[in-house]
């Protein structure tokens, strides 16, 4: 009799998570409905391709960010890493036309991983709070980019045609960049479900001290999360280069805001320990669609950024309330039950 009650407690908690994801889905549906009425050219194939491409970049970087946030950290440097690796990607291709595109992508990911390693060392070994450490590297990596570019841009005309075609290609009717994003999301979700080390991210973020007592190598796990986030930001940079062709020193500036917004409204808890890739993907879809619609409606830049900030506040508040309510509901049941058990025992 009791067991049934606990199963329903479990079901309740799971339903809340699903409801949370459903909420973003509904918000997304309303957004699309709104813009299709108000914004001309919203419901066109071209626009959807644009959205898909933009979403893809956010998704790829957001998967890494999800892992970092799960460990109760944050990576603010992803925008700078995107910029740096975007420039390196297109500059390398401009100089070496014959280089296979895959190799370029791997170089970008390698550089991103190195940047991520820097973040990881500062946070896990240097014990600097992630928000400060990655704010510092946000500036540092951007500074490196300025130094590397010397104020020069790479233009589309300098790039090999095969690279320029990448963003335009649509295998099976889906933009190639979206295929990359789908692949990254699937692999990311699988890792977080099946890989023991990735599963540890949840434990580390949920209770770092308990994780240490349970024998989980906490520092190494945090470093891993940052390296993955860096590498995926590198891949995001490569995609950025493919998408925009022309890259300069301010490429990817402010991108971290989009990524963090996507992750947070996707229900990944900023205090670590809970969240999913699916949520982050839905968050990315919502953020990008709204940004795109605003652009089509020629809404002020102010409102676009304002929306991002407001969305974070709303999402965090809603999550905190939900967590509290669910916890209270679950505890009330359990307490009532224990009390009756106590009384039963006292009578006998």
């Amino acid at each position: 009799m009791n067991t049934r009650r606990f199963v329903s407690a479990q079901a309740l908690a799971e339903a809340v998570v699903r409801l949370r994801e459903l909420g973003i889905f509904v918000a997304l549906a309303f957004t699309i409905l709104f813009f299709s009425v108000r914004a001309t050219n919203f419901m066109t194939a071209d626009n959807w391709r644009d959205i898909a491409t933009d979403v893809s970049m956010v998704v790829v970087v957001a998967v890494g960010q999800t892992m970092v946030v799960l460990t109760r950290n944050i990576d603010l440097s992803v925008g700078s890493i995107v910029g740096l690796t975007a420039y390196v990607s297109s500059n390398t291709l401009a100089d070496h036309h014959g280089l296979p595109i895959v190799v370029t992508a791997l170089i970008a990911m390698g550089i991103g991983a190195l940047c991520g390693l820097g973040n990881g060392l500062l946070v896990a070994v240097g014990k600097i709070p992630a928000i400060i450490a990655t704010l510092a590297t946000l500036a540092i990596y951007r500074g490196v980019l300025f130094e590397v570019t010397h104020g020069q841009n790479v233009f589309a005309s300098q790039l090999p045609q095969s690279f320029l075609d990448l963003a335009a290609k649509k295998p099976l009717g889906v933009p190639s960049l979206a295929w990359i994003a789908i692949g990254v999301a699937l692999v990311g979700a699988a890792l977080l479900r099946w890989a023991p080390w990735a599963r540890d991210f949840y434990a580390v973020g949920s209770n770092p001290d308990a994780a240490r007592l349970a024998g989980i190598p906490v520092a190494r796990r945090v470093m891993t999360a940052f390296v993955i986030s860096g590498a995926l930001a590198g891949l995001g940079g490569f995609m950025f280069a493919a998408r925009f062709a022309s890259v300069d020193a301010v490429a990817g500036r402010g991108f971290e805001l989009d990524v963090v917004t996507a992750v947070v409204i996707g229900g990944v808890n900023v205090f670590g320990g809970s969240g999913s890739v699916l949520g982050a993907v839905l968050g990315a879809l919502l953020v990008t669609t709204i940004q795109d619609g605003f652009t089509l409606m020629r809404v002020d830049e102010f409102w676009k950024i304002f929306f991002n900030g407001a969305a974070i506040v709303v999402a965090v508040t809603v999550d905190a309330l939900i967590t509290k309510r669910v916890q209270e509901a679950l505890r009330r049941r359990r307490r009532a039950e224990l009390l009756t058990a106590h009384e039963r025992a006292a009578e006998t």
Partner: protein, 499 residues
């Protein structure tokens, strides 16, 4: 029977104080070894030495006949020594099953997490324990008792040869305790050695094969449980006379100022009723976790009680916040003075005036000289050893820090003062000093509720002693009735078991 673990002459001291002095005990496979002693007798230190959290200053640990240096918890784990911590260390965001197997998930093909096996194994362990918990339940919704059981499940899921259980039953219901004991017996049959720490002597009776008594860091006795009566255990635990004398001034005891009537807080304490008189020092004794601090916190308005009544001077008082309590003349000196009581980097003057800032800020402007004057008054009155009111609290000794916290509350000129472990962690000289101060304050007409785990302190200072056990007030003893034996018996529930 071979000794699984042999402790030979273990000593450990902290800053000159012996936490453990020359303790030799051997623990056999397939036995349940109870470890008893008062708070501070050295039980936790012994556990920490066994699990590699700390290292001994002297002596050696012999496991399976070989001398071992247990440098960290991982090493202890490898040797099969697993501890269940008193404070549950769970992951609230994860499920029960994942909590049990955190850090060592069962692996399936390709070194992936084998979810179905993990759930099945966790379910089996919980069933063995007799716990009705689905492995998929999120831990966030579980209370302390469930988390404690989870901790046990965690320890059981690893193949322990020596399982240390530090107060495993503190938060459990009688049914759950019975299930736990059944599991312990099963483990014993499998040849596992269990070190069982508990304040409840009836539990020691029910489960232990061997009892080791520690007192003041020393090994007093190790005997078969069957040979020891409760009375003897208590006598061995206490063993000392009231050697440290406390300068209790005789105070004139006046009218009732505080009445607590049927106060309760669900799952924490219930049926708590007592009264305090003017000029009286009332000791509140009991083991750690009996609910003493919780009652104090409820009276002072930190935690909201679920029912009952509090009256001050016969008038109803509803504790809504510490501010409201302060206005009615109540003050509470919390147990953890470093965390809750003081702003470490700031001066004595700033700390002492924290609770009365509005009085020092006529027209909304803080007048620092008033702060300093206040601090100087208390430095003199309480004999705080400091160079000036401007000295940072961080630089003071423990006892002097404690006096600064006391100043902070005395500045509000309370009539009822609740002191929670006021001499915890201070040296002997300072302790006497604090006692003198407390006694002096009572003589001046202050009413004091003294929560303390140190029996000599409670007995030496109090006009009356209240004893709590498991969230209930179980005894009220006058100064002449209150002996160490009687207080410990009440706190451990010996009489109840005998009846």
């Amino acid at each position: 029977m071979t000794a699984l673990v042999d402790l030979r002459g273990l000593s450990k001291s902290y800053g000159g104080v012996h936490a453990l002095a020359d303790v030799s005990v051997s623990i056999d496979s397939g036995t349940v070894h109870a470890l008893v002693g008062e708070n501070g007798a050295g039980k936790s230190t012994l556990v920490k030495l066994l699990t590699g959290v700390i290292q001994p200053d002297e002596g050696e640990l012999v496991v399976d006949g070989e001398s071992q240096r247990i440098g960290d918890p991982q090493t202890a784990h490898r040797l099969g020594i697993v501890a269940m911590y008193q404070e549950p260390t769970v992951f609230p965001d994860l499920t029960v099953a994942e909590n049990v197997f955190a850090g060592r998930h069962p692996r399936g093909p390709g070194r992936t997490v084998d979810w179905s096996r993990m759930r099945a194994d966790a379910g089996r362990i919980l069933e063995d324990l007799g716990v009705e918990l689905a492995p998929g339940t999120p831990v966030r919704g579980l209370g302390v008792a469930d988390r404690q059981l989870l901790e046990i499940a965690k320890a059981l899921s690893s193949s322990a040869r020596l399982l240390i259980m530090d107060e495993p039953t503190a938060a459990l219901s009688p049914n759950e305790v019975e299930n736990l004991f059944a599991t312990v017996r099963k483990l014993r049959e499998r040849g596992v050695a269990v070190v069982f720490i508990s304040h409840r002597l009836e539990e020691v009776d029910a489960i232990a094969d061997v009892v080791t008594v520690l007192r003041d860091g020393r090994h007093i006795a190790t005997r078969p449980a069957a040979e020891l009566s409760h009375g003897e255990i208590v006598r061995l635990m206490v063993g000392r006379s009231l050697d440290a004398l406390f300068p209790k001034e005789e105070a004139e005891i006046g009218d009732v100022v505080l009445e607590v009537d049927g106060l309760r807080r669900r799952g924490v304490f219930s049926h708590v009723s007592f009264e305090l008189r003017r000029g009286e020092i009332v000791g509140l004794a009991g083991f750690v976790g009996a609910g003493r601090s919780e009652v104090a916190r409820a009276i002072f308005g930190i935690d909201r009680p679920d029912g009952g009544e509090i009256r001050i001077d016969g008038r109803r008082f509803r504790p809504r916040s510490p501010r409201a309590a302060l206005r009615r003349g109540l003050a509470y000196l919390p147990e953890d003075r470093l965390q809750q009581g003081l702003v470490q980097p700031m001066s004595i003057a700033v700390n002492a005036s924290l609770a009365v800032l509005p009085d020092l800020t006529p027209a909304g402007i803080l007048q620092p000289w008033r702060e300093r004057r206040l601090a100087r008054r208390f430095i003199e009155q309480l004999r705080i050893k400091a160079t000036s009111p401007a000295q940072a609290v961080r630089g003071l000794s423990g006892g002097n820090q404690q006096k600064v916290v006391l100043s902070k509350w005395l500045a509000a000129e309370p009539r009822i003062l609740i002191l929670d472990e006021p001499t915890h962690g201070v040296d002997v000289g300072t302790k006497a000093d604090v006692h003198r101060t407390i006694s002096h304050l009572a003589a001046q007409g202050l009413t004091i509720l003294l929560i303390s785990s140190e029996l000599p302190e409670v007995l030496g200072m109090s006009d009356r002693v209240l004893v709590m056990r498991e969230g209930r007030l179980v005894a009220e003893l006058s100064r002449s009735e209150a002996t160490q034996e009687r207080v410990i018996e009440a706190a451990a529930g010996v009489q109840e078991a005998a009846a």
